[in-house]
């Protein structure tokens, strides 16, 4: 019990913005009467959210941290099933029980020696936003490469543009360049890419990992394997790595692609 880093927190929804049929942005603060200060949280870490009033989805849902602002924390939730739908339908004032922070975050370089590209799509932009903010605060210059199905599915663009340059691709060509994230012309500018960070659907992350490898750039990806405990106890969320099966919840969710077996 000495110096706990993880906490179980009773939190309150400050705002619930359902800005897209599939996505809701929840901002949360510690519930009145509890310690208002959030524990230290790093970009790439996640939280485990108990689903209120849902007897059939009794396991918590792992959600990555979108950003932390003082004593408020934001979670971008995608409506994927019954549990996340409950979260998307919450209103301000609702209570949530949260275990946080969990996992290891992204590696932020001490100094910039080349481009730092943050590539992602869908709900995957949430941890990239947090990462971009931290990089900017550290005096680095991150750039985003964001892919979506179409213009209407591009999320939090304004927030990302405040952090750094945003390169966009859409599957239907309705915004940015036509195609998927790895097709964007920015990858081929010739300037050295120091490191790539990716969070998105598995096929996107695998494609970005291969591209980064071919460009000689270091690459970190954030996995979303299905989890039960989030604490390294149940061993359900394992990913095969060069060290054998390891828990994504404690050894990840961020992995350097050199640790994974994707490029074999």
């Amino acid at each position: 019990m000495t110096n706990p880093t993880k906490r179980i927190m009773e939190m309150e929804v400050v705002t619930a913005q359902a800005f897209h049929p599939l996505y809701t942005l929840l901002t949360l603060r510690c519930a009145p009467g509890t310690d208002p200060e959030l524990p230290a949280m790093k970009p790439g870490q996640f939280v485990q959210v108990a689903i209120p009033d849902a007897p059939h989805t009794f396991l918590r849902r792992p959600i990555s941290i979108n950003y932390v602002d003082g004593n408020e924390m934001a979670l971008l939730v995608r409506r994927a099933g019954e549990g996340t739908s409950r979260l998307c339908d919450l209103r301000s004032g609702a209570r949530l029980n949260i275990v946080a922070p969990l996992g290891r975050g992204f590696t932020i370089p001490g100094q910039q020696t080349g481009r730092l590209l943050l590539a992602g799509g869908g709900v995957g932009i949430a941890p990239l936003c947090f990462l971009g903010r931290a990089m900017k605060a550290a005096g680095l210059t991150p750039e985003f490469v964001i892919g979506a199905r179409s213009d209407a599915d591009l999320l939090e663009l304004d927030m990302l543009r405040e952090i750094g340059e945003v390169h966009v691709t859409t599957d239907d060509g309705s915004a940015g360049e036509h195609g998927v994230v790895t097709c964007h012309s920015t990858w081929q500018l010739g300037a050295t890419i120091q490191r790539v960070y990716c969070c998105g659907p598995a096929p996107m992350m695998k494609a970005v990992a291969r591209l980064s490898d071919s460009l000689g750039a270091d690459c970190e990806v954030s996995l979303e394997n299905m989890m039960a405990c989030g604490l390294g106890a149940c061993l359900c969320c394992v990913e095969k790595t060069v060290r054998g099966n390891v828990c994504v919840c404690t050894e990840g969710p961020v992995f350097n692609i050199k640790e994974l077996t994707w490029l074999d």
């Binding site: 019990m1 396991l59 394997n225 299905m226 039960a228 405990c229 099966n245």
Partner: protein, 304 residues
């Protein structure tokens, strides 16, 4: 405050009846940020085998109504790694440490138990003859009286401390298996391990788990577990440790009333990492509300 200490066999007394179920509590240290581990009756280390095991491929878990399926497959670094690297780190927690031991063959069980006896101060082991997720050993031993008796006899010779045998519910008559291991010197039985189950992703027409089938746990299995504890407690003289879908103090008392001397908390740890201590407190409060001075007076105490 009521007396909460209970005997779990072989002369071993634990400070209260709340233990954790193997495979749901890691090595305890994963929960040290949330609870004071010394407040538990004890905790059961996840399935340990003689040799390291990688476990089964991902996906290993599927959520089901009021429960979950898993097919982890006893991933662990082996008994020597446990003794040399993990045990020194966790033995100071002030809680009774019980190691769950599994094996692919009878000799593996016995050798792992022998090493624990020789190189640690651990006073109790739980022998897992009921894991549904491994190809060899595991549940194969737990579904026949002969198999269960053979493993128990071999481990009994290898381990002088308290020997708990964890039983499989995937049998026709669990009481018969309990009697078979009691006759071979088991000090206690714990039940139930997970129920064999299966779930299918109908959109993709694929099983949800890499091994197709897995073990069902969580509140969905609780009534089956309570029934089996009740049947077993009537059939044997040794202590019965009850588990299966215990989510709170009420559920724990239900197992004790059915005849369990102690309980193990499993899947609930995934939902609330602090649930075990809340259950200890709830039990104490229940005893106060019901004027019970000694938890032992509640074991099997249902009115019929």
């Amino acid at each position: 405050m009521a007396r909460l200490s209970v005997n779990i066999g072989g002369g071993l007394t634990i400070k209260n009846p709340v233990l954790t179920a193997s495979g749901t509590f890691g090595y305890g240290e994963e929960f040290a940020d949330f609870i004071d581990l010394s407040r538990l009756g004890g905790y059961i280390i996840k399935g340990t085998t003689l040799n390291p095991r990688e476990g089964n491929p991902y996906p290993r878990m599927a959520e089901t109504p009021a429960g979950m399926l898993n097919c982890v497959g006893l991933q662990n670094k082996g008994v020597d790694y446990f003794i040399d690297h993990i045990y020194p780190r966790i033995k100071h927690y002030g809680s009774e440490l019980i190691v769950n031991v599994s094996g692919a063959c009878v000799d593996d069980y016995a050798e792992a138990a022998r090493r624990i006896a020789a190189r640690t101060d651990i006073r109790a082991i739980e022998v897992n003859i009921s894991c549904p997720n491994v190809k060899e050993g595991g549940m194969a031993f737990g579904t026949t009286c002969d198999g269960a008796a053979t493993v128990t006899r071999a481990v009994r010779d290898a381990f002088p401390g308290t020997l708990i045998v964890k039983l499989s519910p995937n049998v026709t008559d669990i009481a018969e298996i309990a009697r078979a291991v009691e006759a071979e010197g088991a000090d206690a039985v714990s039940l139930i391990n997970t129920l064999m189950g299966m779930a299918i992703d109908v959109e993709r027409r694929r099983p949800c788990l890499s091994m197709i089938t897995g073990g069902l746990s969580g509140p969905a299995v609780r009534p089956v577990a309570v029934r089996m504890v009740w049947q077993t407690a009537k059939a044997v003289k040794i202590p019965v440790i009850g588990l299966g879908g215990i989510m709170d103090g009420r559920d724990a008392i239900e197992f004790i009333l059915a005849g369990a001397s102690a309980v193990e908390i499993g899947t609930a740890n995934f939902v609330d990492p602090a649930v075990t201590v809340k259950i200890v407190e709830w039990i104490d409060n229940y005893c106060a509300r019901h004027g019970v001075d000694d938890i032992n007076d509640l074991i099997g105490a249902i009115n019929q």
